[in-house]
């Protein structure tokens, strides 16, 4: 067991936990932020994606001891009122079916668009290919990522 001070969604949390515990389970079981999902546990599906600093990372493979001073952003902290351009686009296109993978999809897309605000189709494919959607909403996700890029540029 060890103590960690984590900056999550702009708030500091003091946690006492085994240093090998992945960020995913610290978020879900200890801080009760359950928007970040458990899908595979081996960084293959992307359901657990959060932002570490400005990078999209798989929180199931991120031991809490590796976080250090970096800010963590989860789906709950992406925007205050659910009005981040990516969330707005997801609502407008009405992307989800079951919805379980979508937080991970949104966190991947939002980190990607911040770095690449005007992406090509190929770049979008490259960025989103690590997130599995079992319901098969990929065509809508693609539309929503493009729409979010446009919202970003027009605001």
């Amino acid at each position: 067991m060890a103590n960690f001070n984590l900056k999550i969604n702009g708030k500091t949390h003091e946690i006492e936990v085994d240093p090998t515990t992945p960020m995913l389970w610290v978020l879900r079981d200890h801080i009760k932020l359950v928007g970040t999902k458990f899908g595979c546990g081996i960084a293959q599906c992307g359901a657990c994606t959060v932002h570490l600093g400005e990078n999209a990372v798989r929180s199931c493979q991120l031991p809490i001891s590796a976080v250090g001073e970096q800010d963590i952003t989860t789906i709950e902290g992406l925007s205050e009122n659910g009005d981040h351009p990516v969330q707005k686009a997801w609502l407008e296109i009405d992307v989800p079916q079951c919805g379980y993978c979508q937080a991970g999809q949104i966190m991947t897309a939002s980190a990607f668009l911040k770095k690449n605000p005007n992406p090509s189709d190929e770049e979008i494919e490259g960025a989103m290919n690590g997130n599995i959607c079992r319901c098969g909403t990929y065509t809508r996700i693609k539309k929503a990522v493009k729409m979010a890029a446009n919202i970003n540029q027009n605001t």
Binding site: K37, G41, C45, Q97, C98, Y100
Partner: protein, 758 residues
């Protein structure tokens, strides 16, 4: 105005005050977090203003004094959007403003709601008549209350958007003001309740946003997996391979690990228990680790040292659609290689005759040419994104469960029997499911969680790892089918024969097309026993046989020198005008209708664009008709899906945008499973346990464009969860043939293994 005769939904109108309310014991506020549709902010504030008093009209409808309406979503939601579309039917007949509607997910209450089952693409089809009557009855009660109030005949009154009007006197009154008076009106008989004409629909047929999208995109806790309750423990299970059972569990290391409360084994179903339909047939004795947090329990699970021993031949009795059956479970450690050999042998033997028209044997004897092809497909795992999990709190008096389940009614009795509690004290609360696809119709996880909670005397959340989920054993069976067509010297089709089999069931639907279109027709089926267990998987059986049949028809059309769409239309024309046999379970005109529509919308008459290769397919299952044209290009050895055009006849479309979403999803899922889906076994051990080797379709592999068209008609609605899925396997195979010159007979199509047949 039209009337329908139905008793569906009638139970819901009976005022029942003695209902169980176990779900209220634990006040998870998120379960009541019903939000209105995506509407402009100002209107949302208005709609959110909660009323001081609710008037309950029936199990489905409550109206507040301020005009806010609560509609219950009766069926479990696994992504097909029934939480939005079923209440749309209520709202239509009630004639309210959709902006004033709140939607609440019902928990399992068989006394209050009919058929709380999500599966078989039946939610909309079976919900339609009862929900219409439920909505229209409440509207009629409001009209009767207004008639009393104003002392005018009820037939002079009209409604619009939550207001009752009397045109001659110019009076009007909102539903909210009437609600408390109307709820005590004697419930009118069904024949006194008029239903709207389809042409008057304002809500049904107009796209509405999914009522949960805002909650999903902001990460709200909607799933059982998200449930965090004070004092709740976490449990995980450890399973033997198929053909094995637990001999011993060495928990000495695991038990002493941090955060671990206990390690033990449970018997989920007793050996002499007569199983209900959908009681799982897989592992009944499993090892359990219980502790404080998921990660700690996960680590302890890895530290278990378990010994297995081989099972012996056994059998058990199970209830089924056609009464009780005895299921045999053979001993042995099974492997895919051995399965494939056995299936090849069986394909050469005669199966059970399922249907025989004319004299097929003679037709084949007299044939000038016979085309014969064999198709195979492997087991598939469901791989819902939310791994199996369940919350249970069992006390001496009752059991409270929260579960991702498609079928609470199929497990409620099993829970009561296993826990030794009366069934009315089993409370199953329905949460949003992170996928279902048939897997969540099997309630083993509810039994496991409840038995664990009873054992450890605490609220517990059972969580499967991805590996547990993938290796548990509710697989789509492995299948094979051999098709034969007899052609005379003029290339006329004179005989047709399908022989299909699988482990442990055959996939043949003997009375479906092309039965009814060919004079000499024979369908046979066979099955082999196995201890590898299976379950419903999106469009059971159709998910294989559609691809096989539609690939064969494509090759047959080519052999006969015909256009593949025209060939199908010729057969359907025969089936419509002069059907063979009387037991054909499809409507040939509607079948032809989707083919005609897809032909037009895909531009089939124009020749293929350079570099683009296309295939067509059409299938009828689960009461809906779907035809698809898939266009692909080749990027070296890999196909790239350019476009799919789909034509669908599912009767009245309730929510067009989401219906389109379902069709898109079914198509993407089908392409994924056809190209990559495969579960195999070595000595009873599943070869794939997680997404590193079980290949799922990914973003890049989905079609660039999916163009969905619905046949416009006033036929009562049917479902869409399954029908768009099976035919795409055929459309893909047929397009791949055009691209590569090679027919694909064996799924998955993209594999590094040598192709056995094709």
């Amino acid at each position: 105005m039209t009337h329908v005769k139905t008793q569906i939904g009638r139970r819901a109108f009976l005022k029942n005050t003695g209902l169980a309310s176990g779900g209220l014991i634990i006040g998870f506020s998120w379960l009541n977090s019903c939000k209105p549709k995506a509407v402009p902010e100002k209107e949302m504030e208005l709609a959110l203003k909660m009323p001081k008093e609710w008037s309950e009209f029936n199990s489905y409808i409550k109206i507040g004094e301020n005009g806010v309406v609560t509609l219950m979503a009766p069926n479990p939601e696994f992504g097909s959007n029934v939480k939005t579309s079923l209440p749309m039917i209520l709202a239509e007949e009630l004639d309210v403003d959709w902006k004033m509607v709140l939607i609440e997910q019902a928990n399992f209450h068989p006394e209050k709601f009919d058929r709380q089952f999500t599966g078989g693409s039946q939610g909309i089809r079976t919900g339609w008549p009862g929900l219409r009557v439920a909505g229209a009855t409440a509207r009629q009660m409001l009209l009767m209350a207004a008639a009393q109030q104003w002392n005018v005949p009820v037939n002079e009154l009209t409604t619009n958007n939550g207001t009752v009007y009397h045109k001659t006197t110019g009076q009007e009154i909102g539903y909210g003001e009437l609600a408390s008076l109307a709820k005590d009106i004697t419930i009118p008989e069904e024949q006194e309740v008029p239903l709207k004409a389809v042409s008057d629909f304002k809500i049904v047929g107009v796209s509405k946003k999914n009522v949960d999208t805002k909650n999903i995109v902001t990460g709200k806790p909607l799933f059982t997996m998200d449930l965090q309750e004070e004092g709740m423990l976490v449990a995980m299970i450890a399973l033997p391979p198929f053909g094995m059972k637990i001999k011993s569990v060495d928990d000495s290391v695991a038990k002493s690990m941090p955060g671990i409360k206990d390690v033990f084994t449970i018997q989920t179903l007793q050996d002499d228990y007569e199983r209900n339909f959908f009681d799982t047939t897989t592992h009944t004795k499993i090892a359990v680790v219980v502790g404080n947090s998921t990660w700690e329990v996960m680590q302890a699970k890895k530290a278990l040292r378990m010994e297995w021993e081989e099972i012996s031949d056994s059998e058990f009795v199970m209830a089924g659609f056609r009464g009780k059956t005895t299921i045999k479970v053979p001993a042995g450690l099974e492997s895919t290689e051995e399965h494939n050999e056995k299936m090849k042998e069986m394909s050469l033997k005669k199966g059970n005759v399922l249907r025989r028209d004319g004299n097929p044997e003679e037709a084949f004897l007299n044939a000038d040419k016979v085309l014969e092809r064999t198709y195979t497909a492997p087991y598939l795992a469901h791989n819902c994104m939310e791994p199996v999990n369940c919350f249970a709190h069992v006390t001496e008096k009752e059991a409270v469960l929260y579960a991702p389940t498609q079928a609470p009614e199929l497990i409620s009795g099993t829970l009561a029997a296993r826990l030794g509690l009366p069934e009315e004290n089993i409370h199953i609360n329905l949460t949003r499911m992170g996928g279902g696809f048939g897997q969540r119709a099997y309630g083993h996880h509810l039994v496991e969680a409840a038995v664990i909670s009873q054992e450890i005397k605490a609220p517990v959340k059972l969580v499967y790892t991805r590996e547990d989920d993938m290796t548990y054993g509710i697989y789509r069976p492995t299948y094979t089918a051999t098709y034969r067509a007899a052609l005379d010297k003029d290339n006329n089709l004179i005989g047709f024969h399908v022989r299909g089999g699988g482990i442990p069931e055959h996939p043949v639907a003997a009375n479906r097309f092309p039965a009814g279109a060919i004079d000499n027709y024979l369908a046979e089926g066979w099955a082999l026993e196995s201890n590898i267990t299976i379950g419903a998987f999106r469009a059971p059986r159709s998910n294989f046989i559609a691809g096989a049949e539609q690939s064969f028809l494509d090759e047959l059309a080519e052999t006969m020198g015909k256009d593949p769409i025209d060939f199908r239309l010729e057969l359907l024309d025969r089936a419509a005008k002069n059907p063979v046999g009387e037991n054909n379970d499809y409507e040939a005109e509607r079948y032809a209708g989707v083919l005609e529509l897809v032909k037009e919308k895909s531009g089939w008459k124009q020749s293929e664009k350079p570099g683009i290769h296309r295939g067509v397919s059409a299938y009828f299952c689960h009461n809906s008709y779907v035809a698809q044209v898939l266009e692909l290009s080749m990027d070296s050895e890999m196909p790239k899906m350019e476009k799919v055009t789909a034509a669908i006849d599912c009767g009245i479309v309730i929510n067009p945008d989401f219906a389109t979403n379902m069709a898109e999803g079914g198509i993407v899922d089908g392409i994924g499973n056809a190209m990559f889906g495969e579960m195999s076994f070595t000595n009873g051990v599943p070869d794939h346990k997680n997404f590193d080797t079980y290949r799922m379709i990914r973003f890049k592999e989905a079609p660039e464009t999916i163009d969905v068209h619905f046949v416009e008609n006033d036929t009562d609605p049917t479902g869409l969860g399954e029908p768009p899925f099976p035919p795409i396997f055929g459309a893909l195979a047929n397009a791949l043939y055009k691209a590569t010159g090679r027919r694909h007979y064996r799924q998955p199509f993209i594999t590094d293994k040598p192709s056995l047949v094709g």
